[in-house]
Symmetry: C2
Subunit: 351 residues, 2 copies
Amino acid sequence: MSGLKIGVIGATGMVGRQYLQILEASPLEVGQLRLYASARSVGSRMTYAGESLAVEELTVEACRGLDIAFFTVSTELACQYAPQVAEHGTLVIDDSSAFRMDPDVPLVVPEVNPDAARSHKGIIAGPNCSTAQMVVVLQPLQQAAGLKRVVVDTYQAASGAGKAAMDELIDHSRRFLAGERPAPENHPQSLAFNIFPHIDSFRDDGYTKEEWKMLVETRKIMDLPDLRLSATCVRVPVAVGHSEALHIEFERPMSAREAREVLERAPGIVVVDDPLNREYPQPIEAAGLDPVYVGRIRDDVSNPGGIALWVVADNVRKGAALNAVQIAELLYPSAVPAQTEGRATAAMTAR
Amino acid sequence: MSGLKIGVIGATGMVGRQYLQILEASPLEVGQLRLYASARSVGSRMTYAGESLAVEELTVEACRGLDIAFFTVSTELACQYAPQVAEHGTLVIDDSSAFRMDPDVPLVVPEVNPDAARSHKGIIAGPNCSTAQMVVVLQPLQQAAGLKRVVVDTYQAASGAGKAAMDELIDHSRRFLAGERPAPENHPQSLAFNIFPHIDSFRDDGYTKEEWKMLVETRKIMDLPDLRLSATCVRVPVAVGHSEALHIEFERPMSAREAREVLERAPGIVVVDDPLNREYPQPIEAAGLDPVYVGRIRDDVSNPGGIALWVVADNVRKGAALNAVQIAELLYPSAVPAQTEGRATAAMTAR
């Protein structure tokens, strides 16, 4: 049998299902696909490329022989299983926060630091979703003018907290419209017609861990250990699609015009910036698509030589499953049939 | 008849109705209240303090004899009527953008520049709603440490665009949940489970007029003609309550601890900042209330000596009707019965 032996660990979850969709559309040559979940999902079946596949129980033994295991499970489960699976020679690509800051694990966004992926020791991590889409935009600007400081405020979709949280937004919205005020179960507050600046838990310094991740993960991915960045992470009543307002200061002056040219040439980005025709990125339009969308690019009126802009991407795709599959495409180019243009390349040129 | 003769111009609109509620709760001694609207609303009746009042057609003649006219109409109508009404000796307090940047018209937020109100020549303007709640927070910080630069990203409620826009959010959300994708009529895009960085129209420099107002109105109200400020204004699917993420740079270093102490003492503000107990300002909790709520106060990790924080207020109240009534309370203290604590004072001490 030719092609890669691939496993999706956590296949039955929201992001797991996205892996199946994205692998199906990927130029990666998938020889065998195996699906893993917890014991209670064993026996259920999922469709991949027209074929019905049984879900297996996750054990280290059951993962033996895989070339690649895409982990999309909790941090706890990733910590428990990923090292053992990697030890048997399988490349683990993990989208949890378990290994991101481990100095032995590369933290990779293919548009930004593809070379880091090649130095892996069995495990590669993908970043937090709000970080992933931001660094795709920051990297070409860093190369052009050197980043000095970034201020970012986010508008994050319910799906960033998982399927139950996304379903709760829909359910609570319906009940809110019927006059009810249901109590939250999967969010810290009800998200129906409300927003709150509370994603992940709070640190002693008043930042949330989500805000902190945007700082430390960005520093690691971009290899800028001294980058200055401050974030406010906010949940908004949107199902899919994270948005971010960025205000960027540079070492060398950057104009909005230059930034637009740089971003238009950059991998993975589509510039949507024609506000007079009401064209700017919106989550409802980015959902289900691969690129990172950038618009509202303008000279920062408060900081000559700086710029402000607006970034939107599908947090379930670029923020998780797509990024992980792009890492695999990067490391297994021989499994990307030569006659077709690979997704990694394609996504990078933002077809 | 004792007490003030007060008119509400545009009484039948969403903000007009708020004026009635706020006047009813105000310590201002209202001797006579008259309600004005366009010809098509004439004959309708509204209830004030248990009394049914007829709505009159707006004409300059019909406003004769008023002590105060609260204008809450379009910029066009304000331009047409306010100067003539003021010429007959009525104090016009206008919440449109018609006169805000007119050098002969004070732009007033009572917590910030009460003295400016006293130099009026017949017309006083109130600021844009997103500016009003921000300057209440910036003013005590300016006094404590001197503002150098402000970055602000907003999360603005549908009601900021008027009642039809708020109703459209509810209607579109209902239809979205039923599988429809209705086209927007009162917003530039559908707001159901979506957000967009487009409030008011676009300027040539890429900023929206809403974003520009936050800069120039803040400079005027705070009398800081060189203040550096950059805003991204974003509409979110919330009915009432604007939220703002602020990142503030100072002339002299300011710590989060000091900022919290300053803000706890400041007029009009309630600090809600106990994130470990899930307490931070949220629009759904601020709606219908007077104070400007501040939380998430923290040292800006990207800028030593700077701070980041989160501000929420009812945009229809502090952003419009409440601010205007507070201006009247400021100028007519004799009409605020001495034995009760006036709302202006009360709101300023954030009871």
